[in-house]
Each structure stands twice: as structure tokens, then as C-alpha cells.
Symmetry: C2
Subunit: 214 residues, 2 copies
């Protein structure tokens, strides 16, 4: 784990400072340690506060997770416009946006933490599924506005989750140290094909058992 922010230790900051220090420490712990190891005790230690104060502000570990791990952008505001419009550039726009988000430390921490938590904790997997499925996949599907949009959006989701896992969590080389602009170009045609290319088997969803489920 990265160096803890020891400068906060021993300070007596105001309430909102303290809450934000805990939130910041929690995001870092969830991203770097994973959900199960990011205990209230460890988060408190990283924030330089008493564990009871973490419970006072957030109530439980799961509530702490939900409070601090909000998506760094509003999917409904951003994604439909990215994938609509000149469809031949939708893959490029989406790849640029996603890589841009993931290359900023704070958003990367949140997204990596969410993906790691989804692998650890069933209730948190439900939460992440709702964030990914209902919100991100839903927003992409809204922008696409075609019959098989939910399948396309969930395939896009699989590639993005895979990049988060392979590049930032497992760190498979050379993908892990690929320059961001090279990553954008590596992903663009594949995202483009999921967004607008032929998916001949599931024109109306008939061979996709769950395609009409949401």
C-alpha cells in the first residue's frame, strides 16, 4: 500500500475536514487493499482518527463504501452523448473518455475499488452491478437507441472492467505500462465494434436468453 498520509495524524481538524480525511483514506484503502482488508480500523489509522469516529460518521463499512465510492462522473450526463452522434467515432470518444478517467488518480481509485469490491463481497457486487448495469450500461444503451443496445453496452462494460482488472489490479504486462494514448488506440476499434458493428446473432435479442430482461 502507498505511504499513508501521516501529516494528518495528531491534527484536530473541523468536522467536514475530518469526514473528508476519512473518505479519502477509505477510497485509498478500498482501491489498494480491496474491500475485505479495508477494515474500519485500517481506514481510521490511515485517516489518523479513532475507529469510533469512522462509525460515527458513516455507520458501517458497507455504508462507508457506498458514501465514498461514488462514480467520478454522472453516467446519464456524459455517456449518451459520447456514443450517439457520428457513430463512426463513438468508439474513439468512449475510449478517450474512459482512459481519461482511469488515468486520473482519484477516479481510478474509485473505479478500481469498485471492481475489486465486486469480486469480494456479494452485497457490494450487487451495488456495483447496479452502478455498472443500471447506470453505465443503461446510459450507453440510451445513447445507442437500438434494439440490442443493452447487449452492446454490457459487452463494452466487459472490456472496460477487463482493462481495469488487467491493467490496474493484476497488472498484466505490457498492457499495464502501455502509454494512455496507445491504450486509447488499442481499445477504439473494439469498443466501436461493440457499439455499432454487426452482432448478427442477436438482432432482436431472440438468441440472447436474457436480452429483454431489462
Amino acid at each position: 500500500m502507498a505511504t499513508p498520509n501521516r501529516s494528518r495524524r495528531g491534527r484536530r481538524p473541523g468536522t467536514s475536514d475530518t469526514r473528508e480525511a476519512i473518505a479519502e483514506a477509505a477510497r485509498r484503502c478500498f482501491a489498494e487493499l480491496g474491500y475485505d482488508r479495508a477494515s474500519i480500523r485500517v481506514v481510521a489509522e490511515q485517516a489518523g482518527v479513532d475507529p469510533a469516529l469512522v462509525m460515527h460518521f458513516f455507520g458501517s463499512k458497507q455504508k462507508l463504501f457506498v458514501s465514498v465510492m461514488s462514480l467520478p462522473f454522472e453516467p446519464e450526463d456524459v455517456l449518451p452523448a459520447l456514443v450517439a452522434g457520428r457513430s463512426s467515432e463513438a468508439g474513439l470518444r468512449l475510449a478517450r473518455f474512459i482512459v481519461g478517467v482511469l488515468e486520473q488518480p482519484q477516479p481510478r481509485m474509485v473505479i478500481t475499488g469498485m471492481v475489486r469490491a465486486a469480486a469480494a463481497e456479494p452485497e457490494v457486487a450487487d451495488l456495483v452491478r447496479d452502478a455498472v448495469s443500471s447506470r453505465m450500461v443503461g446510459a450507453i444503451a440510451t445513447g445507442l437507441a437500438v434494439a440490442d443496445a443493452p447487449l452492446r453496452a454490457s459487452l463494452v462494460g466487459s472490456q472496460i472492467i477487463g482493462v481495469v482488472m488487467a491493467r490496474y489490479v493484476i497488472r498484466v504486462e505490457p498492457l499495464a505500462s502501455l502509454a494512455p494514448d496507445a491504450l486509447v488506440e488499442a481499445l477504439t476499434p473494439n469498443l466501436q465494434r461493440y457499439l455499432t458493428g454487426p452482432l448478427p446473432l442477436v438482432p432482436g435479442g431472440e438468441r440472447a436468453r436474457g436480452a429483454g430482461a431489462r
Copy 2:
């Protein structure tokens, strides 16, 4: 978690039966509970044995993981042939093989357990990175036999890891309930492009910072 195999409780089986019952319970626990929650105690309970016996056979949780979670195929034997040969069908062959493996309960358990563990435990992430990177990515790269093969293979890896996470762990719909043959067709062109399509930015790896690292 699925129904435990209660028929094993109370039996007094021979040593190799007992060891295999523990291995089987451990695989199921790692896949369904994730690494952190799959404690020695829970594995022992699922196998109907004393926790001390699990320790006797396997030594530690990490050693138990390493022993029971071996890949359900030998990457070096299978993957080079899949991606070599008539390169225009490499994506289809690889998609069929991977989906075929993931749709069998036992191999899916092992692979899902490895991906989940990689998200939880740093040392196990190292182990999974070695399994994914050195073995699977290496075997695909061997079959491709081109300069940027490691990058291509790691991009393939990102898509496969993403499918494991999105379909089997987070269960993003409609991908989670897509029929296997539809999944093969959904993945084929994207795997094909990573294997043989143009990746214009990294012809010899010069813009891929880590491309020559292994």
C-alpha cells in the same frame, strides 16, 4: 453460496478421498466466496472435516489455493495452436475454446476463483499474474510469433478477464445470461482484431513503454 455437499459429512473416507474432498470444497469456496472469505474453517466445514486436517494436507491457505486452483488446461499445449495457422479464424477458435472452458462448471470455478482472488490478495494477484501473464499471455504470444505479440496477448487477456468478471462475478445483464454460442460470436471479431488486426501505434513497441519488458 450453493448447497454444500453434505453427503460427505460424517464419512470416514481414505486419505486421497479426503484430500480431494477438501480440494473440491476449497475450489468451490474460492469461486463462490472469494479468497478472503474462503477461510480454512469454512473450507473444512464444507468438506466435512476438521480444520486441522486441511492444514495437515495443505499447510496454509495460500498453499491450499496454489494446490487446488491449477488451470484446467496447459496453456503451452493448447493456445499456440489455436492462434497460429489460418489466422483469419484465430479469433473464432480462441473464443470457442475460452467460452467452452468457462461453460464447464469445474474449470469455470477455478478461473472465476483465480480472478476473484487476484482482486483480493496481493500475493495471490502475483500468482494469478504469473499464471495469466507468463503462461496464457506467453502461450498466445508464442503462437502469434510477431513483434507486438505480447501486447496483443495482454489485450486478449483483458477481454477474457472482463468477460469472467462481467458475466460470472458481477453478472451484468444481458451478458450474464447470453447463450454460449451467442457469446462466442459476440467475442470473435474483437479477439480477432487483438490477435491479427492493425495496432498501428505500437508496431515495434516504441510507444508501448513496457512492451519489451518480458
